[in-house]
Symmetry: C2
Subunit: 390 residues, 2 copies
């Protein structure tokens, strides 16, 4: 099959707020090859990722992503890897390229799975996907009382594991954070699994983060996520060495396999969290999952948007039966719900299974593409380089 078309659908809620909620907009990718269609999704800044697809070439290794994709042959998984290597080399100096490519890559797996009548995990060599235990991902409340209520709400919705993040956490006095952590534990009950996401708030200040360790430990936090800037590997390792009761998590910002490996090798994280919409798609995520498994590091998906992205993000570690936990966006904006006509559902044990349908097993809603459509036009020297599909 030859890649004939790649289309980008920029979707957005009517209002986008400063909440740390990535479901407020979306960049959905449709790839057409051999008369078949595949769907994928890029994480973050739709306009910029579109620009990286169509931008005029700056020089031989700063080419638009388009130049390495259109017209390529796609008949087998190795073709996806070959095109990925081509993009990485030809767009070496185009920083945004991995985010753009990620959605295309997902769509290519989806398309290939549909062409073969097999789910993507089978194309990755996985026979029987393991069930995952989703954790509810939510923001800290504005007050400890709100955090308490949120924890109870998530438990009532059937989630045993809940991750609290962002909001006021880390921005004020230590005691405020202690109160939020105590409230979260109280709301979760004794057997709830507590995860905490600090959203890089301490940048590289190990001491500031360490001040929160006693309350994190006392409340039996399983992981502390992104205490620091994604590149502050020394700080990750130093904080991890200060506790044997919880593990440090990170990795969502990785835009190539190397960055994820550095967090494992030098940052000594215990959980590696990969966003398929950033790292270059499913193939590189699978590489990280294998690398982590060999080193006793637990792989977790990072997904805060739609169930298209969710299905893609669960494929790379579907066979890792001991890596049971998975991120599950619990309270996304309506756009993320509406985008797909089917959704991954919790079973009676509160567990998730991957779809058995071909490809990613998720159908995109044409109505949602129309309803949330953002109309983009990019013109260079009078020539239209991009216009949102009708």
């Amino acid at each position: 099959m030859k890649i004939d078309d790649v289309d980008f659908f920029y979707l957005s809620m009517p209002e986008v707020t400063t909440d740390a909620d990535g479901s407020q907009d979306a960049l959905v990718v449709r790839v057409v090859a051999g008369g078949r269609v595949g769907w994928g999704e890029c994480e973050a800044s739709p306009l910029v990722s579109i620009a990286a697809y169509v931008t005029p070439m700056s020089h031989g290794v700063c080419r638009p992503v388009r130049d390495s994709v259109l017209g390529e042959t796609i008949d087998k998984p190795d073709d996806i890897r070959r095109i990925a290597a081509k993009v990485a080399y030809n767009s070496m100096d185009l920083l945004q390229a991995p985010h753009t490519w990620s959605g295309i890559e997902m769509a290519l797996w989806d398309l290939l799975g549909k062409a073969r009548g097999e789910p993507v995990y089978k194309l990755l060599g996985i026979e029987r996907p393991a069930r995952k235990t989703p954790y509810a991902s939510r923001l800290f409340g504005n007050s400890p009382d709100e955090t308490l209520a949120g924890a109870r709400e998530s438990r009532a919705a059937g989630f045993r594991a809940v991750k609290f993040g962002w909001g006021p956490f880390g921005t004020g006095p230590v005691q405020d954070d202690v109160d939020h952590l105590d409230a979260a534990r109280e709301g979760l009950g004794e057997d709830g699994i507590l995860l905490v996401d600090a959203g890089q708030i301490w940048i590289d200040d190990v001491e500031a983060a360490a001040l929160r360790l006693p309350a994190l430990e006392r409340n039996r936090t399983v992981w502390l996520e992104e205490p620091f800037h994604a590149g502050a590997l020394d700080a990750y390792a130093a904080l991890g060495a200060r506790t044997d009761k919880l593990k440090i998590a990170g990795g969502e910002a990785a835009h190539d396999v190397f960055m994820a490996r550095h967090l494992i090798d030098f940052g000594k994280v215990g959980f590696i969290q990969i966003d398929c919409g950033r790292i270059g798609g499913i193939g590189p995520a699978r590489q990280v999952a294998e690398y982590a498994a060999e080193r006793g590091v637990t792989y977790v998906n990072h997904t805060f948007t739609t169930h298209l992205a969710l299905s893609a993000s669960l494929q790379p570690y579907a066979d890792l039966a001991s890596d049971t936990i998975c991120e599950f966006p619990v309270t996304p904006r309506q756009l993320a719900i509406d985008l797909t006509t089917n959704h991954l559902k919790l079973d009676s044990n509160g567990e998730l299974s991957l779809p058995e349908e071909p490809g990613l097993g998720i159908d995109v809603s044409p109505e949602a593409l129309a309803k949330y459509r953002v109309d983009v036009e990019i013109k260079v020297n009078g020539k239209s380089l991009f216009k949102s599909p009708a």
Copy 2:
């Protein structure tokens, strides 16, 4: 002073080829604050960096660069650092942001220097900048004869040090590379300084790179630059451990200080090469220069475009008298020559000094901004987010 305006000028040669030559287009930034003007330059993919400046917000930490810059106060160097931290946090999930910010940051230093009547290096605390020995940066020839001729040409033009890169190097049989290296040495003469840039051609294949070591050593190559993908730290360290006659160089892709530090700490490079147009500007580059100096690693600028970028790129290590070598674009496209009305010139010893004029000491030509202008318009939902300045 309040930052009132930030304008982007996308410039391009009429024809852009696949040569690994970054001078074929440019993204020039003009900042206006307190009635004063500063100029800077972003490296690579102008359209994408413009998009990162104006893109609609995706969520609280995926904001357009603009939101963290316009209206900010700029009276002292610490203000630049403060705005840089704001951009880094608010645009955490916007991958292209560091490239966009780099040009703005440079322009802020230029503006601040002009406001104080001091060159930028003085604002960095540097009293007397050291002279640098520029190396001529050029592509390998298509044949060893062309490489030989190129080496002779650069020597005749007064350069003792010449860097050859890209072209056929690393793409064919080992013997081809050996022939090019022998030709380069022959053309440079016994006392010429030979540098080689492999342009990431071996990705992470240490053995493939190591096959070239004997010829690199025999021809007294000072450094082998970017043998691997910028993130393949293990490969950098492994290759470096295979030779004590030459050093490994890298770093141009670093888009934050952490990445440069990782190349030093884990990649064990002997030369760290920083592009001010990518790493976030002059401030972070200065941090890397200091970090490298403490560890016995030599800092070198990475500059392949205009003398505006060249002046900016020399400021961060102007006081490191032992780090004498600097990159100097010898055969840039006409756009890069025309962009500035003054240029850094080699003195009679073939050495370069920084301008003593306030700011970056380089004047941008209004004629060049008009002549090479690329007209860009970005519209979102019918609203013009960006239009090239007239």
